[in-house]
Amino acid sequence: MDCGTCETSAPLEMHKPEVVDVNLSISDNAVKMLGDAFGDDRSMALLVGVLSGGCSGYMYDLQIVETTDIDCQEINIDGFRVLIPNSSSHLLNGIQIDYEDRLMGGGFKIINPNAQSSCGCGESFS
């Protein structure tokens, strides 16, 4: 097999969506929960990313990080640092981060105006 390791075949040009300046909001419930999670330490940040997969093609990925190698834009909301990867900024512009306090199916939720559909658990969207 000729696997194209030399100059005979270059990688295909990948879809590179435009980077947008993300606007997002955080509900009062989510602010309270982030306050509990971060405490007084504001060196940490909430990374809101998107991964491929899930029932609808994309999955949200929330992490608390100090730093990241991912190329991100940083937004400061209510004293919290929120990091959004530029590669998924087009999917996350306009989102609201909410927190639902329920024993089953509770936790952080993303309300996304860009999502055409989402799966039952709310973690995946398209």
Binding site: M1, D2, S9, A10, P11, S117, S126
Partner: protein, 234 residues
Amino acid sequence: MPKAAFSDSYVTIWRGVDCLTFLDGLTSNQVINLKKNRVVQSALLDKNAKIIDFLTILNLGGFLAIIGHKNNFQPMLDFVTPKILQSDVSITNISQLNDVAILYDEKTSEDIGICESKDDVTYARISKGFTYCIAAKKVNFGGEEIDEKFHEWRISNLMPWYEYEINNKSTPYSCGLNQFVHDSKGCYTGQEILTRMRSRNRGIKVLKSIPNSKIDIEKVTTKGLENSLVIVNQ
């Protein structure tokens, strides 16, 4: 053993540490644990669980080689590339450099699910009687195009094929690819629909080989000389 050139195929090379995770999140079979020199087949599905392409995935160590049908190449790319985002995945189309051929009707006791290279040809043994071969064009490995003999073999072995049974109007459960749906691997695109079909036992069909004298011609997906393939309710 019979050999047929699969010139309606494409071959791509996938590189990057996230390739297996990425494919696992988008296809119906379990791919994430695919070890070096192993091969697996998996369906890439849209959100309605319709087939975008049926992929043969070879783990060749530093990269994956993926075989699909050339008519599905652009839809596959259109579906896959927007989802790469920050994942370490890059795709190279090497179809122009290689021929894909099929060895079928082998009588062998060799292990299935393995891939290996011998004399400049990469072999991926899919089942006891079916092997994909990828060879550089200069090797001249091709052979005759897929013909009636291959389709007769498919009919007797209940093997679905691109553009006959496998098309973008089918789900894996409606074209004989049931064994390539992993029922506990977790979420992937189309998974909710397939799980619902399975739990309600609705829309699940099987391939059958039926004598031509006993079938409704409109239901035939592959017409053979004496028997034909049809898709019927389970």
